[in-house]
Structures are given as structure tokens and as C-alpha cells.
């Protein structure tokens, strides 16, 4: 089975967001970066598919040099090959990322392409299905259960208040959600082995964003709340405030 997993490097979720002087981007000082948590599920699912069906697993990331860390983490978990599509600068939007991933994927003709459902930096939830449409492939995102049987694919995806059971066939694009598996912790041996693996660098084939960030800003600070310190005795006061002041009940 020829498997591709797309991985993204993102600021750790505990990052304190500060805005750069250009008012359009995150100030990278002091930020530590990690493999996007949802992509860990994608890599794990890809490794399991490879273990079951044989074949080759390639991890691809679009980004500057630091994104190699995402590919390295995929190596540690079991990816065979790594690719970095490296643009000249960090000014790219989801469309540009999707377009370049799609071009690369097309050249490799994989049986299955795995993504995380969403990156935790820009929270787009959009690249998997954009790539699928660019490649005219079926796709299922927010998947909590995946079964591949020959070329037949069954997936369960989360929706409001329940699950959808979908049916489709290979080649397919899948976006993974928490619950689909438990990502493995790399062991020392795989960490050591991954160190010598090369990451192929290629140039983007497409530039030309469809959206521009005109401003990045912090949300307006909340006025300090009314916190009552009298315990259960102040329940009626709380209810009064919620009714008369906040008007929510």
C-alpha cells in the first residue's frame, strides 16, 4: 500500500500568543513547536495500515526548515520517507498549502492520504477536503473509525449529536479525529534510527494566496468578572445577576 500522511508543525497548545510588530502574525519568540496533535492520529493510523498491508509510508510537510521536526516525529513513529515542500517565506494560506500538497500527492499516486482533521494553529479544518477536491478524490474528515477492506473503505465520522457511517473506496483522503487510535510513543530504537533518515526538499509549484491577513490581534480583554466568595449562601445572588444583569436565564 502506498500511503501518504500530511503533517504540520504548530505552536504548542500552551503557547502564550503575542503578536509581531507587523500586526499580522504570531511573534515566534519563546514559542515551542510540536507536531499538530491531530496529525499524530493520522501518522498512527498510517503506520497501522502499513503494518497490516505492507507498502511504503511517506510523511509530507509544507513549511520552512523548522517543519522538518514534524516529519522527524513521523519518522520516529514509523514513516519510511520524508518530504518538505519549502516555500521562500511564511506568507502562505491554506489554499497554497493544499495546492502544493495536491500537486505532490498527484505525482505519487498513493492509495490513501491521511491528514489530521484540523491544525491547531489556524484551526481551518479545510485542507483535507480542499486537497481531495483538487485531486477529484473521495474524502471523509473527522474520522473516529476507519476500516479498509481491499479497496472498500468504511469510515465513521463525528457530527453534531452523533456519527455518520460513510462508504467509499480507495484512493481516498481521510482526516483523523481523537478516538480513532492511541498514537504510539516512539521508542529509543526508532528515535535513533530516524536520525539518519534524509528529508527530501522540494520547491513549491504554486504560489498565490487566495486570502490575506490584514490584521492579527488579541481578543478584547474581558472586564473582570463578578466572583462571589460567600459559597452556597450566594446562590440566590448569582441567579439574580444571571437573570437581571446578564439576562441569560
Amino acid at each position: 500500500m502506498n500511503i501518504i500522511v500530511c503533517v504540520s508543525l504548530v505552536p504548542d497548545s500552551t503557547t502564550k500568543v503575542k503578536i509581531s510588530a507587523d500586526n499580522k502574525s504570531l511573534d515566534p519568540n519563546g514559542v515551542s513547536y510540536i507536531l499538530n496533535p491531530y496529525d499524530e492520529f493520522a501518522v498512527e493510523e498510517a503506520v497501522q495500515l502499513k503494518e497490516k498491508n505492507g507498502g511504503e509510508l511517506t510523511a509530507v510537510s509544507f513549511g520552512l526548515d523548522k517543519s522538518k521536526e514534524a516529519v522527524k516525529k513521523a519518522f520516529q513513529m514509523g514513516a519510511d520517507k520524508g518530504v518538505l515542500i519549502k516555500p521562500d517565506n511564511e506568507n502562505y494560506d491554506s489554499y497554497t498549502v493544499a495546492k502544493n500538497l495536491a500537486e505532490y500527492i498527484k505525482s505519487k499516486n498513493p492509495d490513501i492520504i491521511l491528514f489530521g482533521k484540523q491544525s491547531i494553529d489556524f484551526d481551518g479544518l479545510s485542507i483535507p477536503n480542499m486537497v481531495a477536491e483538487m485531486l477529484k478524490l473521495p474524502s471523509v474528515n473527522v474520522v473516529v473509525k476507519l476500516t479498509v477492506d481491499g479497496t472498500k473503505v468504511t469510515a465513521e465520522r463525528e457530527i453534531e449529536g452523533g456519527l455518520e457511517i460513510l462508504e467509499t473506496s480507495l484512493p481516498v483522503v481521510i482526516g483523523t479525529q481523537k478516538g480513532i487510535n492511541n498514537p504510539r510513543y516512539p521508542n529509543l530504537k526508532s528515535i535513533m534510527a530516524s536520525k539518519s533518515k534524509p528529508i527530501e526538499e522540494i520547491k513549491p509549484t504554486y504560489t498565490g494566496n487566495k486570502t490575506e491577513i490584514v490584521e492579527m490581534a488579541l481578543p478584547a480583554a474581558k472586564g473582570s468578572g463578578k466572583i462571589l466568595t460567600g459559597g452556597a449562601d450566594q446562590v440566590s445572588e448569582l441567579v439574580r445577576l444571571l437573570r437581571e444583569e446578564a439576562k441569560v436565564i
Binding site: T15, L26, D123, P128, I249
Partner: protein
């Protein structure tokens, strides 16, 4: 640039509910700000068609209706509920054939699934998860949270076509009168839909429980590790019942197996923006805040006055959930019965 707006709306159990009213209201508002018109597109069965005139209350004059059975018959298959790939194609083709260049839809599970495909089909700029849309110097600027709500960006668009997904529960449904919208059936043959457009189909929808889902609720009562064990979540359920709320949970209690994953609020759970969010025995870790900080009113109940949740709470009580929750439930029942 002149815009022509198309609002795609979904129904639920064959009726239009607040996500549809939110999208129509915002389309109506933008149309007047841009000095243009808007139309609505929907896909459903006859019951949905019969419910469509109600969208007139929110400013729609014309609802274009695509019959789901006619659409599905283009697949050559019969044993499925619907196909999101076909929905995306219907909306994109309807828009391009009729000159619509600004598409609004809800950022529901369906909306988030089809909008990226629609944007590629229309070669459009796409903004998911918008919380505000403004017109500045005739250009559309859309605001969306990033970094789990810790900051936001304002986006402008480079393409002639634009697709914007609206974060559910943020845009207010605005009744603009008691008008009934005209419903017009779309000829399915005009949309160029073929069997290949049904590459992904939903075979079955499993409703996880009869309970209200956090993603759809207007009020949420959530419990965390402060509840000490699954047996005490009746306190959360009772308070939720008194408020007509959905029950939510922190990841700590979901991972411990006390509550189902579907209730988890936060970065790896659901993102919610209810009008009232009550956090009980939840510390307010950044990953939890990521999922609920855009709630309109936040109430925290925690015995630790320094718990981070109090920093974003609008109201709160410092105290023991085992004393406060029963008293609060009684007090709410009392005021509601008056």
C-alpha cells in the same frame, strides 16, 4: 466589485432551525450593506420544501429548493442517505450558473465538510469559522479566531468568488417581519450532476443519544475533576435539566471514562459558543478554554479562588460544587416556576 449573495441553509429533522436563521439573517444584513440582493439555496425532501417559506421571516425573498430524492437518483445507487460530495457540487454549480459570487453557509459539521470543496470548485477564497463580517471600503473583511481563540485574524479576499462559513451560535437570527419566502424548485438536470459526484456517501446516521449535544446547545453545564467521580454527575445533569441545557465535560473526566467523548469541550473536543456556559469543578486549563472562551456569558464554580477559570468568568462562586450545585438547581427551578 459587485456581489450577489447565496445563502446555503441546512435543515434538521426536516425543519429549519437556528443555524439556517443565522445564515439567512447575516446574508440579509450583508446584502443591505453591500446594496445588493441575496437568495437562499437548500436541499431536502418535500417536508423541508414546505417549511422553506418561514425563512422569509429572516429576510429571505426567494428560496431555491433542490429535491434530495431527485439529486440522489443521479447517483444510480439507492442505499444511502446523502452525499456531501454531491452537495458541494450542487452548491458550486448553482452559484456559478446563476452568477452568485459570495456564498455563506453555517460552520456546522456538514458546512465545514463541504465548504472547502465548494471553494476549490469555484476557485474561491475561503474563510472558515467567521465570527464577524464587515465591509471596509467596499471590500469584505471577515474575522475569525485562530490559535484556539487566543487571538483572531481579519481576512481579506483575493478571488472574485468568496465562501464564508459562519461559526454556529455567534451570528444572531434577526426576525425582520412576518413575510413568507417564495419557494422555487431547481431543475436537477440544470446542475450537471453525475454519478461520479457521489464518490462519498453517508450510509447511515447514528444518533448518539436523545440528549442535546453541546455543539448545538444554547446553554451548557460542564463538569470536571472537581466532581470526584462519575456517580456525582447527576448534580451536573440536574442543574442542566433545570436550565434546559446540554451537559459537557473536561478532558480529564472524559479520559477517566466518567463521561462520553461526545461531551468533551476544548481543543480536542468540541468548540462551543453558547449564550451561557457553566463550568463546575473545572480548573480552566488553556485547552479547555480553547473550546468555550467565546461563550457569551461564563459562570464558574470552583473551590479554588485562584483557578484560571475565574479569569475568564463573567460570574462565579468560590465554593464547593457539592453544596452549590444542589442549591443552584433548586433556586433556578424556583425562579423558573414564578
Amino acid at each position: 466589485m459587485s456581489y450577489k449573495i447565496l445563502a446555503f441553509v441546512e435543515s434538521k429533522e426536516n425543519k429549519f432551525k437556528s443555524p439556517a436563521f443565522e445564515v439567512v439573517s447575516e446574508a440579509n444584513k450583508l446584502a443591505s450593506e453591500l446594496n445588493t440582493t441575496f437568495e437562499v439555496l437548500t436541499i431536502g425532501n418535500d417536508e423541508v420544501k414546505n417549511d422553506a417559506p418561514i425563512l422569509g421571516n429572516y429576510g429571505a425573498t426567494k428560496v431555491n429548493f433542490v429535491n434530495l430524492n431527485e439529486l440522489n437518483s443521479k447517483s444510480g445507487k439507492s442505499d444511502f442517505v446523502y452525499s456531501q460530495t454531491a452537495f458541494a457540487k450542487v452548491i458550486a454549480n448553482y452559484a456559478s450558473k446563476n452568477g452568485f459570487n459570495l456564498i455563506l453557509l453555517s460552520g456546522s459539521a456538514l458546512g465545514k465538510d463541504i465548504a472547502p470543496r465548494i471553494s476549490v470548485l469555484l476557485d474561491a477564497s475561503y474563510c472558515p469559522d467567521a465570527v464577524d463580517i464587515k465591509i471596509q471600503d467596499g471590500k469584505i473583511i471577515s474575522k475569525r479566531p485562530v490559535y484556539a481563540g487566543k487571538s483572531y485574524i481579519n481576512l481579506s479576499f483575493n478571488s472574485e468568488n468568496i465562501v464564508i462559513g459562519l461559526r454556529p451560535n455567534v451570528f444572531k437570527p434577526v426576525k425582520s417581519g412576518n413575510n413568507s419566502a417564495e419557494v422555487s424548485s431547481v431543475d436537477i438536470n440544470s446542475l450537471d450532476i453525475f454519478d461520479v459526484d457521489f464518490s462519498t456517501v453517508v450510509k447511515e446516521i447514528k444518533v448518539s443519544s436523545e440528549k442535546l449535544d453541546v455543539a448545538e446547545a444554547d446553554i451548557i453545564v460542564s463538569g470536571g475533576r472537581g466532581l470526584r467521580g462519575p456517580e456525582n454527575f447527576n448534580l451536573i445533569e440536574n442543574l442542566a435539566a433545570s436550565l434546559g441545557a446540554a451537559t459537557g465535560a473536561s478532558r480529564a473526566v472524559v479520559d477517566a471514562g466518567w463521561r462520553p467523548h461526545g461531551e468533551q469541550v476544548g481543543q480536542t473536543g468540541k468548540t462551543v459558543s453558547p449564550s451561557l456556559y457553566v463550568a463546575c469543578g473545572i480548573s480552566g486549563a488553556i485547552q479547555h478554554l480553547a473550546g468555550m472562551s467565546s461563550s457569551k456569558v461564563i459562570v464558574a464554580i470552583n473551590k479554588d479562588k485562584d483557578a484560571p477559570i475565574f479569569q475568564i468568568a463573567d460570574y462565579g462562586i468560590v465554593g464547593d460544587v457539592f453544596e452549590i450545585l444542589p442549591a443552584l438547581t433548586e433556586e433556578i427551578k424556583k425562579v423558573k416556576s414564578n
